[in-house]
Amino acid sequence: MSESKKKQTLLKVDKLKVHFELKRESWFSDKPVVHAVDGVSFDINLGQTLGLVGESGCGKTTTGRAILGLVKSTEGTISFEGTNLGLVPPKKMLQLRQRMQIIFQDPYSALNPRQTAGDLVLDPLLVHNIGNSKERQERVDELFSLVGLQKNQQLLYPHQFSGGQRQRICIARALALKPDFIVCDEPVSALDVAIQAQILNLLCKLQDELNLTFLFISHDLAVIQHVCDEIAVMYLGVIVEKASRLELFDNPRHPYTRALLSAVLSGSPDIKVDRIRLEGDIPNPINKPTGCRFRTRCSFAKEICSEMEPVLEEKSVGHWEACHFQTTSN
């Protein structure tokens, strides 16, 4: 986190594309293709957190899952510590998999209801055949105390826990294999406000203690602001803006980012940004608009926006934006 540490790139995603083919209506029609992720590139440095923010259907979750190989990527490369994951033999992949984990949004569906909490955390150790049974049990005990659960809770089933506690079990399971990199897929959005704080505190503490690297996916800008070093804003499968945390919130450039910021129901009246209200809904990712994807809802849209898709370019130092225009005053 601090500048003194060597900035070492842990994960590099280059032009990642994930397209899903849907069932066609009949044999004679084309297969509809959802362009869930449509050319996304970013790096994450060791020990840092990259925030991926956007509304539902923008492809942020798919990006996270494609990195872990949970959905098949159509194009692009993902490199972990300089190794291209696409070219790794399956055996090596199993080892790499231990070092990359994921925490899910819904702690209610992320835990198998027919396994006890202890078994759930033990499972990764069994799958990868780590240690003997005594060592494994010790590791599980250690993990339980690490995430703030009690040892005697290991025998309970998931439905006997509250939402916050379930999310702690999920975190313990993700940490079991001592990963370096964790995809946090909306880890707090299904939780009550008071519990959100507990989990965010836990995640920050763990990151510090274990030197973890996070890809933090959320639709909630306040959460993103609280935990991320760098932030990428996604819209309809592409990144429209990418900058450091300070830069993005001080100086949002892309019209979509600004609209998103002003749409957040702030809770404090002190910030009354001039509101940019977006018209309409997010277009269907099957028939995305030509040119700039955001043009259908953008008040600055001109002719060129429907003809050419803007590329993500560095408009000022460390601040990337995909827009044909300079729409901000500064």
Binding site: E55, S56, S162, G163, G164, Q165, D192, V193, A194, I195, Q196, A197, Q198, L200, N201, C204, K205, H219, D220, L221, A222, V223, Q225, H226, V227, R245, L246, F249, D250, A259, L260, L261, S262, A263, V264, L265, S266, G267, S268, P269, D270, I271, R275, R277, L278, E279, G280, D281, I282
Partner: protein, 337 residues
């Protein structure tokens, strides 16, 4: 009693001692305990609380729509212009629903019947409450869709719910609720299932309509941001109790109940100066109490850092002024009882 001050005002809706019990495996569980509040003309009242605090049950109880069995309204009055809704016959209460008091719900995905067109469902509502021909009702339906700013309403009216986006569906729900220009609109988490940019649109729309029609709104939400956006007055609920009531400013700037304080502190907001990066957030420890095994005394006691021996008995509502009350022993230092 505690809400004697309420009667002074010309409230559209007054709720007194509203209580709902559920029968869970033969045990009587109190889901809602003696909730009181008033709702003024053109006012927006926000009801906020964590999941399971009884806020949605309040909404259903107002229109006597508590699922029964297992639930039942065990006590209380709901006065709509001095008419007690709790004493009406089934037939009479149906005339109130959708006409005097309307509701919109959290899940616009499932709140519309999937096998009928949007127009069909709108027209049927109009015909239920108004003496119109089908053609006139259809015209009115299109007008309503225009009112809730749906583009090309003549087209949309022929579509099925699954063909519309979440935001659109919620607009349809609002249109349906507005058919009879109701005095009160109950919005139960109206934007929770929607994206932020669409959320903002819906709130703008509600405010616009409220300005036009002087309708009163009860906004039920877990999101304090939504409350700030919409509400004039706020009720904070916890474990079936109203624990605090006050104006938006009062609640936000000087919350008195430890639960409200904790809720506001632990809430994340966007900070203009980006401060507090990765700083530990204040937490409320533990989780909401088990309603099946209620302990005597203040329900927030186990999670409260300031709990004293006195908190083993239930605190009453302390009235601190006009429509300002707190249910906590901490404020009991010589004030009104």
């Amino acid at each position: 009693m505690d809400d004697s001050l309420e009667t002074k005002e010309d409230a559209v809706l007054r709720v007194m001692n509203l209580s709902v019990d559920f029968d869970v495996k033969g045990n009587n569980v109190s889901i809602l305990s003696k909730v009181n509040f008033g709702l003024g003309l053109g006012e927006t009242l926000g009801i906020v609380g964590e999941s399971g605090c009884g806020k949605s049950m309040t909404a259903l109880a107002l229109l006597r729509m508590v699922p029964s069995p297992p639930g039942k309204i065990s006590d209380g009055e709901v006065l709509l212009n001095n008419l007690d809704l709790m004493t009406l016959s089934q037939k009479e209460i149906k005339k109130i629903r959708g006409k005097e008091i309307s509701m919109i719900f959290q899940e616009p995905m499932t709140s519309l019947n999937p096998v009928f067109t949007v127009g069909n469902q709108l027209v049927e509502t109009i015909l239920e409450h108004k003496d119109l021909s089908r053609a006139d009702a259809l015209k009115e339906a299109i007008e309503l869709l225009r009112l809730v700013q749906i583009p090309a309403p003549e087209q949309r009216i022929k579509e099925y719910p699954h063909q519309l986006s979440g935001g659109m569906r919620q607009r349809i729900m609002i249109a349906m609720a507005l058919v009879c220009e109701p005095k009160v609109l109950i919005a139960d988490e109206p934007t929770t299932a929607l994206d932020v940019t669409v959320q903002a649109q819906i709130f703008d729309l509600l405010k616009e309509i409220q300005a036009k029609t002087q309708m009163s709104i009860i906004l039920i939400t877990h999101d304090f941001g939504a409350i700030t956006e919409m509400a004039d007055r706020v009720i904070v609920m916890y474990a079936g109790y109203k624990v605090e009531e006050g104006t938006l400013d009062e609640i936000r700037n000087s919350p008195l109940h430890p639960y409200t304080q904790g809720l506001l502190r632990s809430m994340l907001v966007i900070k203009p100066d980006s401060s507090g990066f990765k700083m530990p957030l204040p937490e409320i420890p533990g989780s909401v109490p088990d309603l099946l095994n209620r302990q005597p005394g203040c329900p927030f006691g186990p999670r409260c850092s300031q709990a004293t021996v006195k908190c083993r008995s239930m605190p009453p509502n302390f009235n601190l002024g006009f429509k300002r009350s707190v249910k906590c022993w901490l404020v009991d230092n010589g004030r009104v009882e």
